[in-house]
């Protein structure tokens, strides 16, 4: 089941620079897309989300972009901080339904 794909397993960026995390999906029926952040030995923590009817949602340093025609979304973090180092999961869902996760991408922000 590869409905949500995060093809890059890791990303390393310099503190202060932009981090761009990518995600692709195959199911055009998804209504919502969410990004979760996970530290070791903790559960996923909700970060930001976007509805399928929008193409951008911004919350502070975090912006999610959705390209429905390409079935692609991305998370931009700017400026990146060392505390952002974690595993980031892209997830998709319909209303009140299960989350379908990607494999995650490990972000390392170098001081």
């Amino acid at each position: 089941d590869q409905q949500v794909k995060q093809n890059s397993p890791s990303l390393s960026v310099q503190e202060g620079r932009i981090s761009i995390l990518n995600c692709d999906y195959t199911n055009s029926m998804f209504d919502y897309f969410l990004w979760y952040k996970k530290y070791p030995a903790e559960g996923p923590t909700f970060l930001i989300s976007i509805s399928s009817i929008k193409d951008k949602n911004e919350d502070g340093r975090f912006t999610v972009f959705l390209n429905k025609s390409a079935k692609h979304l991305s998370l931009h973090i700017v400026p990146s901080q060392p505390g952002d180092s974690a595993v980031y999961f892209c997830a998709s869902t319909g209303a009140n339904s299960k989350l379908t996760f990607g494999k995650g991408i490990t972000l390392s922000v170098r001081p």
Binding site: Y32, L34, Y36, A41, E42, G43, P44, T45, F46, S49, I50, S51, F89, T93, G94, A95, N96, S97, K98, L99, T100, F101, G102, K103, G104
Partner: protein
Amino acid sequence: EPEVTQTPSHQVTQMGQEVILRCVPISNHLYFYWYRQILGQKVEFLVSFYNNEISEKSEIFDDQFSVERPDGSNFTLKIRSTKLEDSAMYFCASSDPAESSYNEQFFGPGTRLTVL
């Protein structure tokens, strides 16, 4: 800030034994979920629960698994006869559509289940 809690944090059991993983969802939430993550793999949906019944389950959630909300606060996942391949992190989550139209689910810290 309200949070989802899970106990125990780590459970070690022998193959064939029954285990019960416990969760206390956020108190005003109405939808409850169990997910699991086998080491090195993605987080996988197991089951969702609403209005005291299962609303959706994955193919992983076979007859060995069951869920229950025995009282107004706890939400449990039972594995009747554990197998080696059940070793994973099990995450409980809850949500309330009145709070978020994005089906934002709040996750607990997880229970690491090790089957020997």
